[in-house]
């Protein structure tokens, strides 16, 4: 076994009794360097795998999936609101078979859309338990709502022979509405908010992962340089080939990483734009939900059901939900004009007539083809168009996000393994000298 030149003088000077300590110290130091390098290689490999996952989550595929999930959540939210409006309207229209059938059709259609979108969303969860839990919650709550509506409609069926029972049906309908507004809609809204939050998290996750991976690569290169320098001094400027090769491999890894992630800043900007669009879309759908709620309140009140609040409070609630007094809302001029017409028609045809005891005229105005219904439907058609345009823009943005690079994780692991083998070989040769 040979002794490194720098250690020979020191061993001679200290004498045989103390000769073992410097040899052991050097050996331990080399072992510690090796352990540090091992930890850094493992950490870099692990972070590479995590970065791979994070970059994929912020890539085109995941962004498109989040946009689709968000669109489904939005459709579920809108169709549930629509179902409620139709169910309450159906109760009011029980004397008119044509209008009742029309509202029945709308109710069935809205529920069918909600169920279809729930099924579509299930296919998009990608095994994510959080996404699946949100959908499961709505799937379990929806039958509770429809059960209450069905029970209300069963009771309403006796309206001609036993009109009083229909009043109990109205109470069940009101409970169904309260359940939908208090439980189902917030769950659908959560689903949607979670998708927006998930996009934000994916964006941040990709940033953190890329930053961490880069930092670890630099740290590993620093450690390789440090041990090379240490051995350079100990071995009278003998260059360690294993460590040099490991350094080259890690430099290659860094270069490959920079090349692979060159599209990341662009993806980051696009992802931010998708998030912003989704939030704007949320505002629009919020306007639609509030408008549908205002319609359902009209039906409940006119249906002889709700005596919880007075006419002034109902009007004030309507104006709040319809947005009559919110010119600052993020809506186009055309939509704002439609709202103004709807609000004026409501005041004239429902509020004033109901207050004046002209109930039948108010009912006619509220039901399909009535003046208030027509004013609302014109507003709703424009709003739906704006929402559809927003949805198309979001999908376009999501599809424009670059595809995540392939093999980022496995490539990093393989290169780290190669570098670790080279470095290990280089250090082991020196450690052997001290055994």
């Amino acid at each position: 076994m040979s002794t490194p030149a720098s250690d020979v003088g020191e061993a001679t000077r200290l004498g045989p009794a103390r000769n073992r300590r410097p040899r052991a110290t050097t050996r331990n130091r080399l072992a510690a360097w090796a352990a540090l390098l091992l930890v850094l290689f493992v950490a870099t490999s692990g972070t590479g795998l995590l970065a791979d996952r994070a970059v994929r989550a912020a890539g085109q595929e995941m962004a498109t999936s989040a946009a689709q999930m968000s669109d489904n959540a939005q459709a579920i939210y809108r169709s549930l609101s629509g179902a409620d409006t139709a169910a309450t309207g159906r109760f009011l229209a029980m004397a008119s078979p044509r209008q009742r059938d029309e509202l029945d059709r709308r109710y069935g259609e809205a529920l069918s859309v909600a169920r279809q979108r729930l099924a579509d969303s299930s296919a998009l969860t990608g095994g994510d338990p959080e996404r699946a839990a949100g959908l499961a919650r709505i799937s379990r709550q929806l039958p509770v709502y429809t059960g209450l509506v069905d029970h209300a409609q069963d009771l309403t069926r006796y309206a001609r022979t036993d009109p009083k029972r229909a009043l109990l049906g109205a109470a069940y309908l009101r409970e169904a509405t309260a359940y939908l507004r208090g439980t189902l809609l917030p769950a659908a809204l959560d689903l949607w908010k979670e998708e927006i939050a998930r996009l934000g998290e994916a964006r941040n996750g990709a940033r953190v992962a890329i930053g961490s991976l880069t930092a670890l690569l630099v740290l590993t290169l620093g450690a390789l340089w440090g041990i090379q320098r240490y051995l350079w001094r100990r071995t009278r400027r003998v260059f360690n080939r294993g460590l040099a090769l490991a350094t080259l491999v890690m430099l290659g890894t860094l270069g490959w990483l920079v090349w692979s992630l060159s599209a990341s800043p662009y993806a980051d900007v696009r992802l931010g734009a998708v998030g912003e669009r989704l939030r704007a879309q949320q505002d629009l759908v919020g306007v639609e939900r509030a408008a549908l709620e205002a319609r359902a309140d009209d039906y409940l009140r006119l249906g002889g059901d709700s005596t919880a609040v007075g006419s002034n409070e109902l009007r004030s609630r309507f104006r709040g939900n319809a947005g009559c007094d919110h010119p600052e809302r993020p809506l186009s001029g055309a939509l704002t004009r439609r709202i103004t017409i709807w609000c004026a028609t409501y005041d004239q045809e429902i509020h004033e007539k109901e207050r004046g005891g002209r109930h039948e005229e108010a009912v006619v105005a509220a039901l399909p083809d009535g003046k208030v219904a027509v004013a609302y439907e014109q507003f709703d058609a424009d709003l739906t168009r704006a929402i559809e345009n927003g949805k198309a823009a979001i999908l376009d943005l999501a599809e424009d996000i670059p595809v995540a690079p392939e093999g980022l994780g496995s490539g990093t692991v393989l290169l780290c393994l190669a570098a670790a083998l080279c470095a290990g070989r280089g250090i082991w040769i020196r450690i052997k000298d001290y055994l």
Binding site: E10, A95, D128, L168, A171, R174, T307, S311
Partner: protein, 351 residues
């Protein structure tokens, strides 16, 4: 000469490991899944457990049954303007005043009383053309009278001294008392069995306040509408519904499987709850005295006098009995309440 030794590796390695752990922690993430989410149970909107103490202080000098002496002259305030009476009524109180969901027509005991007033005021005309029914809530009775959108309010309103601060009352046209309705399959017999149990009443009514003050200490639950109470009873979210007997009869029509408590509550000396109860005291489960009266604007003395005249007339000619038996045959009151005329600290006006 001894060469300077390189910096200790242990500390450098420690720092590097710390950096690594931090970086891995930043990049890593963990997921947890705790099984399927629970499904929330439905409940009517606006359900509240009533806990606030009552704030009313009855005046010793006040007699809520007192009203103005009758006068057969139709009120000029009504006959002058368009010859229509705008009546504020409830639209959900079966038996008393409700809108028939099939026809949209108003029906009930209160409605028939209003038709009698219309017939007397505009003889020869169809009272359906004379009366304009406006659906109002308990809370907006006074406001709608004040702002002139209704001329008269008949919606099972109990005449109380507090309310008389804001409106004028006719003479009493129906006596009732608060009692309790339970599910038919429940084992409750008396109010004491409901100690600590949730009992439903409509928010803003005297029923909720009376429940709160009962020595048996049931837990009052307030909801916006009486039918909500029945829904909660059917869904076993409350154990009982408590209000005036005439209103509970309407709820029982909606669910015939329910029944009234049969054991009378304990009574303190001077308790007048059963004064207008028709039957042996041992069967009386009423625990409040509820004189029903029609409400007017405080300055509408002519209208109050005219309605008192009509009420007196139908008491005497058997019409009141006919209306009562049509809607409230099984309601155990003693019959047409005797009219009481006399002053009160705050009303009637013009005394």
């Amino acid at each position: 000469m001894r060469r300077p030794s390189p910096p200790p590796l242990r500390s450098a390695a420690g720092r590097a490991v710390a950096v690594m752990v931090t970086a891995v922690s930043l990049a890593g993430c963990a997921f947890g899944y705790s099984g399927p989410p629970p499904v929330a149970s439905p409940a009517p909107s606006g359900v509240r457990t009533a806990t606030a103490p009552p704030s009313t202080k009855p005046s010793a000098a006040c007699e809520p049954r007192n009203s103005l002496a009758p006068d057969s002259a139709p009120p000029r305030s009504i006959t002058r303007k368009g010859e229509q009476i705008r009546a504020g009524v409830d639209q959900t109180l079966t038996r008393m005043s409700y809108r028939d969901p099939a026809t949209g027509e108003y029906r009930g005991f209160d409605i028939d009383i209003l038709y009698e007033i219309a017939k007397e005021m505009f003889p020869g005309r169809n009272p359906r053309d004379v009366l304009v029914f406006v659906a109002i809530t308990s809370e907006e009775r006074q406001e709608r009278l004040r702002d002139g959108t209704v001329d008269i309010v008949a919606d099972s309103m109990t005449a109380t001294c507090d309310r008389a601060e804001e409106v004028a009352f006719s003479t009493d046209y129906l006596d009732s008392g608060q009692t309790v309705l339970v599910r038919g399959d429940s084992g409750y017999r008396g109010l004491k069995d409901l100690a600590g149990k949730p009992v439903c009443a409509a928010t803003g009514t005297t029923s909720l306040e009376i429940l709160r003050n009962r020595p048996e200490k049931p837990v009052p639950v307030g909801v916006p509408n009486w039918t909500d109470c029945l829904v909660m009873l059917q869904q076993r979210q409350v154990e009982a519904v408590s209000t005036d007997h005439n209103i509970l009869l309407g709820l029982q029509d909606l669910d015939p499987s329910t029944r009234f408590l049969e054991a009378p509550p304990p009574r303190s000396p001077g308790d007048t709850s059963c004064r207008w109860y028709d039957g042996p005291a041992a069967t009386c489960t009423w625990f409040s005295n509820e004189p029903h009266a029609i409400a007017f604007r405080k300055d509408d003395a002519d209208f109050v006098r005219f309605v008192n005249h009509v009420l007196q007339k139908i008491r005497a000619n058997g019409r009141w009995r006919a209306i009562h038996d049509r809607w409230l045959l099984d309601h155990p009151d003693k019959g047409p309440p005797p009219a009481a005329y006399g002053p009160n600290p705050t009303w009637p006006p013009g005394r």
